[in-house]
């Protein structure tokens, strides 16, 4: 694995220089087949991504209820979005959730992966079981868990929809259940790539189990740890289905704005759901704000992804 990542950039360069000369034989007939090969995907890509994306950027500077009656108003939407208390609340709620789930999911997934690579009996069955929830869709998961939580909480005369902390921890439990198996698979791949010789050498040098874990195993699975951390982080920020299905933002709170107007804060609403509710909530006049929120959200998620790309590239150079 490591050797591959090291050598691919060099190889690629060589090939590109090469392909210009030697593929002339194929290039011309291939170019003639452009409508068959590239065009279908390209047209769909324009319809499904490029055009909606560009229009989305434009509309974030407009006042509109549908795409046809847009009126340019400058950065007013962005100011409104950043001043919206529900958006600010959703941001901090999402950030808190992201940190808690990041720590819990990665620690537990690493623990499972570590034990499952110690040659214990039944490893394959355990792996199968732990990974299974990952395939069930977010909406169905939300329904299942809300039934379970309500089954427990109704004995104490309450419900997951009544308190913010129940909604928060409920979501954390749900996401742990779903994602631990996924991260475990990545950790197992990382752990299996460590050579036995290195661990054995540490053993002979007198390192105990704990020292071997901290000084040999963990530094060597650092690439997997980075991948998993960023995956859980982006998953947390993009979370929508599970949030909608488990609590849908309940319980609600009203708060008084500085200018005297009332605003409703859905206390368990995360960023993606907040954007959705701004678009398709009661008033269609706030769609401009919604689009501005979506652009801010996009910049946030894109920044995290770019940081991930950079950090993984740096690692490759170091190795």
């Amino acid at each position: 694995m490591k050797d591959e990542t090291k050598t691919t950039p060099k190889k690629k360069k060589k090939k590109q220089e090469f392909s210009g000369v030697s593929s002339k034989l194929m290039r011309k007939p291939m170019k003639r087949c452009f409508p068959i090969f590239l065009l279908p995907m390209f047209l769909a890509f324009i319809i499904g991504f490029v055009y909606p994306f560009a229009q989305g950027i434009y509309l974030s500077f407009c006042k509109f209820t549908t795409t046809s009656n847009a009126e340019f108003i400058g950065i007013g939407n962005y100011i409104k979005a950043l001043k919206d208390p529900s958006f600010v609340h959703a941001f901090w709620y999402t950030a808190l959730y992201a940190i808690v789930s990041l720590v819990l999911i990665n620690v537990l997934a690493f623990l499972l992966a570590y034990v499952l690579t110690q040659n214990i009996k039944g490893t394959n069955i355990f792996r199968t079981v732990f990974f299974m929830p990952n395939l069930i869709g977010g909406i169905v998961l939300g329904y299942i868990w809300s039934m379970i939580f309500d089954g427990i909480l109704s004995r104490f005369g309450t419900s997951i929809l009544l308190e913010t902390k129940y909604g928060f921890w409920g979501l954390v439990i749900l996401m742990c259940w779903q994602q631990i198996g996924y991260m475990m698979i990545i950790y197992i791949a990382g752990l299996q790539a460590i050579s036995e010789d290195m661990l054995e050498a540490a053993h002979i040098d007198g390192a105990n189990g704990w020292q071997r874990l901290w000084k040999v195993t963990i530094p060597n699975v650092m690439p997997s740890i980075t991948i998993c951390m960023f995956l859980t982080l982006t998953n947390a920020f993009k979370l929508f289905d599970q949030n909608l299905a488990l609590t849908g933002g309940a319980p609600f709170e009203t708060s008084v704005n500085p200018d005297g107007t009332l605003s409703i804060i859905k206390t368990t609403e995360m960023l993606a759901l907040n954007i959705y509710n701004t678009f398709y909530g009661q008033s269609s006049s706030s769609r401009g704000t919604g689009q501005a929120k979506a652009v801010i959200f996009f910049i946030l998620v894109a920044t995290i992804s770019i940081l991930q790309l950079r950090s993984s590239k740096k690692k490759e150079v170091q190795q």
């Binding site: 034989l25 007939p29 499904g48 989305g56 040659n119 299974m132 791949a189 954007i275 894109a302």
Partner: protein
């Protein structure tokens, strides 16, 4: 002698430690499966008992046999089997379209490598970091105006929005295939189309499986895109249907809903158990690259 004993002792204690680990993990695994078991149990209970006795096994009073399953298929304003049908159609058509068009496009991009190809490629990579909320409103409007809002045409939207990851993964793989094989085919008189289908496509098989699994998992479970794009009165998918039942909280038969959830999980679990090896491989590949 004593050293020998020591080694034996250590070995047996190690074995015992591993045995106890297995037992602990067996218990954890059982607990891990409990949520699914609870749904299964509740799908055999009468409506009112689902809420009051969530964690009890069905008894003589609450047990209704397969009634919930029979009722579940048709109850409510919208028959569930239609949702299953549309979800299957959308998933299969979209996955097929993505695999075919994106692998073709990726081959063209990797081999022709013109400026235009590079622009398309980097746009695809860029599209991978854009969250759906960014384009959801405009995408729904665009698909409405172009009449792409039926289960038979929504695959075009999936192809457009899902192209990024597929093109990225296919291009990466095509670049690792030696060019000489295709050149040999060209010298032997193969046109680009025949070269592609007879030579390139068979070599792409492992990546086709990985990408196919990632797309199937995404589209089968996707909620928001079909919810916004499809004509909601006419067409529902399984996630839309489940969320719709949840929205009418308490007003619908909970026992029957549990039966529907079991119905929607079964195909996923069967799919998982039959191609587990490929799924785990595909997921790991997608994670490392995406």
């Amino acid at each position: 002698m004593s050293a020998d004993k020591k080694i034996k002792k250590r070995r047996s204690s190690k074995g015992a430690g591993k045995m106890s680990l297995t037992i602990v993990f067996a218990i954890v695994a059982v607990v891990y499966m409990l949520p699914i078991v609870i749904v299964l149990i509740n799908s055999f209970k009468e409506n009112t008992f689902v809420k009051t006795e969530t964690f009890m096994l069905p008894n003589a009073e609450s047990f209704v046999g397969l009634d919930n399953y029979i009722k579940g298929m048709t109850f409510g304003n919208y028959p569930f089997f239609l949702s299953v049908f549309y979800t299957t159609v959308i998933t299969l058509l979209s996955t097929f379209l993505i695999l075919l068009c994106c692998s073709m496009a990726a081959w063209y991009i990797a081999r022709v490598n013109s400026k235009f190809c590079k622009i398309v490629y980097y746009l695809c990579v860029f599209s991978m970091v854009v969250p759906f909320q960014m384009v959801m409103f405009t995408l729904a409007k665009t698909s409405d105006t172009l009449k792409l809002n039926t289960p038979w045409t929504i695959p075009v939207i999936y192809l457009g929005f899902g192209a990024g990851l597929a093109v990225f993964m296919f291009t990466g793989f095509v670049k690792s295939i030696p060019l000489e094989i295709e050149e040999a085919a060209a010298i032997d008189g193969c046109g680009p189309l025949r070269t592609y289908f007879k030579v390139v496509l068979p070599m792409l098989k492992p990546t086709l499986i990985s990408v196919g699994i990632l797309e199937i998992m995404w589209i089968w479970n996707d909620y928001l895109l079909p919810y916004l794009v499809l004509d909601r009165n006419k067409y529902m998918t399984i996630p839309i249907h489940i969320q719709y039942l949840r929205g009418s909280y308490g007003a619908v038969d909970l026992g029957a809903t549990m039966a529907l959830i079991v119905f929607s999980i079964i195909p996923v679990i069967v799919f998982y158990l039959t191609c587990q090896k490929h799924i785990i491989k595909g997921v790991a590949a997608g994670a490392v690259k995406g």
